[in-house]
């Protein structure tokens, strides 16, 4: 798999480390009523076949955290965005 790092260019996936699902947003609230949102954020992960957004870090390169949108079946990469610019 090839990932086109916005800072370093196209590199083999071995240079990167995957963290996982990037579709979840860390909840802002911390009250008792927010617990379900937290439970969802921390534990619930879809395992879609097809398009998915994931966090990858370019650990063997610039160390930037990236949001990689790719097809989990074909590994085709559609978009790579620095995590700081990506909204979940």
């Amino acid at each position: 798999m090839l990932i086109d790092c916005p800072y370093c260019g196209e590199r083999l996936s071995e240079e990167f480390t995957i963290l996982g699902d990037a579709t979840k947003q860390r909840p802002a609230g911390s009250g008792a009523s927010d617990i379900d949102a937290w439970y969802d954020y921390v534990f619930i992960r879809d395992n879609p076949k097809g398009r998915h957004r994931e966090y990858w870090q370019h650990t063997g390169g610039c160390r930037a955290w990236l949001v990689v949108e790719r097809d989990t079946l074909t590994h085709q990469v559609y978009a790579v965005t620095p995590a700081r610019d990506a909204s979940a």
Binding site: V42, T74, H75
Partner: protein, 985 residues
């Protein structure tokens, strides 16, 4: 033995004889030979014994798909098992040994299996060796492994080097036959960066094995001229001896280059094999086609070969398998073999065509027997003839011959095109599977795409090369295609097996799968081709059914009343042909497997006689033995020296992160569960990081060096993970925070100075005031060492003693450590290692990796007070979960054997006294142990259910793995100086 070398022709160099040995006998071949062609030239038809029945076997192919002629090549550490003699280039001193025979190839006792063949049917292992169950591991499996085997791996290290490499290109052309040559030329002339790879030792593919003329000259001449032009193009790289074995996402291709497999010993500094990853914008798959065997009685006898392989031996290697051929075919290919064999001056007894009659040019003077099949190959040591049954006849006629050319049609080599999971497409007219209908990035062409005539291959190759270059961004047009005149239309009538066979007929030669096995599997319910493969083993092994798979599908289709496309194929997966572990490993072996990290103080540690231990990639000084001391004596002495006076320890492996910025404090408050808003410059604080699920992640210290400038330490094990975590939190969660941070682990040498005399030693090298009032416990400040070295001093303690950590720039580390030793000599200063460090932290009840094991919370470890209630931080919400607060969790305690001489071991489980050892009764486990010099006995830390309420209770330690049981007293986790008087001394 008779020489089978033809008097003329071939691409061998008759002026360069080459000596080699096979089964310890010496032979001669010629430069340009393969091991298989050289053995054939020497009249050696018998090359192997089969897997299950130990039947005599000869070579069937002249290429990559060879199922039979597998040999061990090379000696000692260079021995390669299961090497295909058809792919092994002959070189001086080549050492080859046949496999799977005992005591010898000619006389093999295992052949008795063949007599009992009726019980060795498909699935017999599963059925026969079931009972008694205990026999499997001790009796059956070793027996089966000895009897049914391929080659032996060497037990010696491989002395050769292997390499991994990457390549990028616009167009990768795979295969160098007529289609590949034209594609490479078209793409090359367009200016594309072309990699032109072929598994053969010479480029040219099938053109090296055929006699067809191109542009009025021989195929060899066309190959030579085309290669000369390609070689002259600076944008084209030729890669012979390179098997492209897999197609992966991103249009990445895996390839194995046999750089020095054609010599006995690679030249100095050169690898024997190179493992390539080729990243191609476009690829042209010109991998050709493989000829199918026919399934008829005795088709596995040495001397029965692919018709196309016989052409290769005759035309390329100038070798004939025998003196009189018989051809058995169901398509055009057999006719061509008859013509070529005849042209080489060898008799052809007959062409037996399973069809009613072909339209092919008939070889003059050779009898054609149409609508007929071979029912049996006869002969023992050598073939003497075949039995031929004509349509409608009841008795077979004998035709005398000593070798048999068979052709059951062609299978395009479509493996690569299916590696991404797409299914091949059945073509009824040509009776073969073609590549999947859509393969973006890969253009199948030539015989691989079903073009089975020379002119079509040349024309399509030219177009494919131009198209690939165009898709890669180059302006390209098809190039002129040379004239051919030997084209003959391809026609076939499928013949999956000869049902009138009167001897054992083999579907899969390598796995000894016979014609009977496949219907048997279907009768037993294994009626999908994937199940048939697993049940019969057809299509397994080193050749992965390159010859057998489609016949197996055809036979299964007939046995179950379905069609071949309904049956389909088994899944095509990389690797196309076997790849050595050496190539996969590359340079990553022994000490090169991973880097070794040495601390800036490594040199000093060595001077002090340290014994090093591995901690991740690090080498850490474990203890510093004096003559006659074992590890425990050394560590005990080191502990006593620190507790009584002073010692220094290399703690440079701790992760170190420099954090700065206007929002640095805010980030720390979110990273750690405890707060940092009140941490003044000049002070250090212990910090706990949680994971978002509320469990402990890491611990360390945070020192506030100056306003908005922090120095963070992490555990050695988690240094990398914590760094990534901080980067994630900042970049993905809170990019708005104004912070900068960088790992400075390697930039600072860090030395712990511990013991009641620690201050006195430091005062001798540091100018600043270190008195308790000026620099109290948890102080952190910049200092100057030895009158000029800028350093940082932290008053923190892991040992429980009055202790400091001194950071100096890495280059000064060894010098400062030596200085401390000399300045401390009056106090009896000692170097101490990780063992002593660990003993002292267990005596103090400080947690480390054993307790920060991913299952514990701050509360569990008695650190609940540190968890802030009035800020957001990673892990806060999930840490509030009810079950984590329930009060029945395993929590940190100390344990002390009731009998002081009993040795505790980490990992042992705890049970209530008198309870039966069961999962339900489990009360926790021991996490860390040490022999305590202060208590003069073994002590441990443990996680015990409701442990804080149980101090003083006697519990059982249960460790059946190491057969250890004892009683221990539950204690407070701190065994030494619980009031921390020493710390503040």
């Amino acid at each position: 033995m008779t020489s089978r070398r033809l008097a003329q022709g071939g691409l061998i160099d008759r002026s360069r004889p080459i000596r080699f040995t096979f089964d310890h006998k010496s032979f001669a071949g010629l430069a340009g030979d393969t091991l298989a062609s050289a053995l054939l030239a020497n009249g050696r038809m018998l090359m192997a014994r089969s897997f299950k029945y130990h039947r005599p076997r000869g070579v069937v192919t002249a290429g990559a798909s060879e199922p039979n002629a597998l040999m061990e090549i090379g000696e000692r550490g260079r021995r390669d098992a299961n090497s295909r003699a058809t792919m092994v280039e002959l070189y001086d001193g080549l050492f080859a040994v046949s496999q799977n025979r005992w005591p010898s190839l000619a006389f093999d006792l295992g052949a008795v299996n063949g007599l009992a063949a009726s019980i060795f049917v498909a699935g017999f292992y599963y059925k026969t060796f079931m009972w008694p169950k205990s026999f499997w591991e001790k009796v059956y499996e070793p027996l089966i492994r000895r009897a049914a085997g391929l080659g032996r791996a060497s037990h010696e290290p491989d002395p050769d080097a292997y390499e991994k490499a990457y390549a990028h290109c616009d167009v990768l052309v795979i295969g160098s036959g007529p289609a590949g040559l034209m594609a490479a030329l078209a793409a090359g002339r367009a200016g594309a960066r072309v990699i032109f790879a072929d598994e053969g030792s010479r480029l040219g593919g099938s053109l090296l094995a055929e006699r067809e003329e191109i542009a009025g000259d021989s195929g060899f001449a066309f190959v030579a001229a085309t290669l000369a032009e390609l070689e002259a193009l600076p944008n084209v790289t030729l890669m012979p001896r390179t098997t492209v074995f897999g197609w992966f996402d991103g249009n990445v291709f895996g390839a194995l280059e046999r750089v020095n497999k054609h010599v006995a010993v690679p030249p100095a500094h050169e690898p024997v094999e190179r493992y390539w990853r080729i990243i191609a914008k476009q690829a042209v798959m010109a991998t050709g086609a493989e000829e199918r065997p026919l399934v008829f009685g005795g088709n596995d006898k040495p001397g029965v070969m692919q018709a196309s392989a016989i052409r290769a031996y005759v035309n390329r290697y100038a070798v004939t398998p025998g003196a009189r051929a018989v051809v058995f075919t169901n398509n055009s290919s057999g006719y061509r073999t008859a013509r070529d064999v005849l042209a080489a001056g060898i008799d052809v007894a007959a062409i037996i065509d399973a069809r009613d009659g072909g339209t092919e040019t008939h070889a003059a003077g050779v009898p054609l027997i149409a609508d007929a099949v071979v029912t049996r190959v006869v002969g023992r040591e050598r073939i003497t003839g075949v039995n031929v049954l004509k349509g409608g006849a009841t008795t077979a006629d004998r035709i005398e011959a000593d070798f048999v050319a068979m052709s059951g049609g062609w299978n395009p080599v479509i493996h690569l095109s299916c590696h991404k999971g797409d299914k091949p497409v059945w073509d009824a007219e040509r009776a073969c599977f073609l590549p999947p209908s859509s393969t973006p990035g890969l253009i199948p062409v030539g015989a691989a795409a079903g073009a089975l005539t020379l002119s079509q291959c040349l024309k399509d190759g030219s177009a494919a090369g131009a198209r690939a270059a165009g898709l890669a961004g180059f302006k390209a047009t098809s190039i002129a295609v040379p004239e051919t005149r030997d084209d003959e239309p391809y026609s076939i009538r499928p013949l999956w097996h000869v049902r009138q066979s009167t001897a054992k007929a083999f579907v899969d030669f390598q796995n000894d799968v016979t014609l009977e096995d496949i219907p048997l599997a279907a009768r037993e319910g294994f009626n999908s081709i994937e199940l048939v493969k697993r049940f019969t083993t057809s299509g397994m092994g080193t050749d992965q059914g390159k010859l057998s798979n489609i016949n197996a599908s055809g036979i299964l289709a007939e046995a179950t009343g379905r069609t071949v496309p309904e049956i389909g194929t088994t899944t095509f997966r990389p690797f196309y042909t076997p790849v050595s572990f050496g190539a996969l490993t590359g340079a990553f072996r022994a000490t090169h497997y991973q880097p070794v990290r040495k601390t800036p103080l490594h040199e000093w540690c060595e001077e002090m006689g340290a014994v090093f231990m591995e901690a991740g990639l690090w080498l850490r000084s474990a203890w510093f033995p004096k003559p006659g001391e074992d590890w425990r004596a050394a560590a005990t002495r080191e502990v006593m020296a620190v507790r009584q006076s002073v010692g220094i320890c290399d703690v440079s492996t701790l992760g170190k992160i420099d954090l700065q910025g206007s929002d640095a404090t805010a980030l720390l408050n979110r990273l750690y569960c405890n707060g940092f808003s009140t941490l003044q410059p000049g002070k250090a604080r212990y910090g706990l990081m949680l994971r978002e699920d509320g469990f402990l992640f890491d611990d360390g210290t945070v020192s506030h060096l100056a306003s908005g400038h922090y120095f963070i330490t992490t555990t050695t094990a988690n240094a990398g993970r914590v760094m990534s975590h901080i980067e994630f939190c900042h970049q993905a969660l809170w990019p708005e925070l104004g912070v900068q941070y960088v790992s400075v682990t390697d930039q600072w040498a860090q030395i712990a100075v511990a013991g009641p005399n620690a201050r006195r030693v430091l005062e001798r090298v540091i100018a600043e005031d270190l008195a308790d009032a000026a620099f109290p416990y948890l102080g952190a400040q910049a200092v100057t060492v030895a009158g000029g070295i800028p350093a940082r001093l932290f008053r923190i303690s892991f040992s429980g003693e009055l202790a400091y950590e001194l950071s100096v720039p890495a280059d000064h580390g060894n010098h400062v450590a030596r200085l401390l030793m000399s300045e401390g000599s009056g106090f009896g200063i000692v170097p101490y290692g990780v063992e002593a460090l660990s003993i002292m932290r267990i005596e103090k009840g400080h947690v480390a990796g054993g307790e920060l094991n991913g299952t514990t919370t701050p509360e569990d470890l008695g650190l609940g007070r540190m968890v802030s209630r009035n800020k957001d931080f990673i892990g806060r919400m999930m840490g509030e979960r009810e079950a984590l607060k329930a009060g029945n969790r395993d929590v940190l305690v100390g344990v002390k054997p009731v009998e002081p001489d009993h040795q505790l071991r980490a990992g042992a489980h705890l049970l209530t006294r008198g309870a039966v050892a069961s999962l339900d009764n489990d009360q926790g486990y021991v996490t860390s142990v040490a022999w305590s010099p202060m208590l003069r006995q073994w002590i441990g830390l443990a996680l015990l259910k409701r442990g804080r309420e149980r101090h003083g209770e006697i519990v059982q330690v249960y460790d059946d793995l190491r057969n250890s049981r004892m009683l221990v007293e539950v204690t407070h986790p701190c065994f030494y100086d619980r009031e921390n008087l020493k710390l503040h001394g």
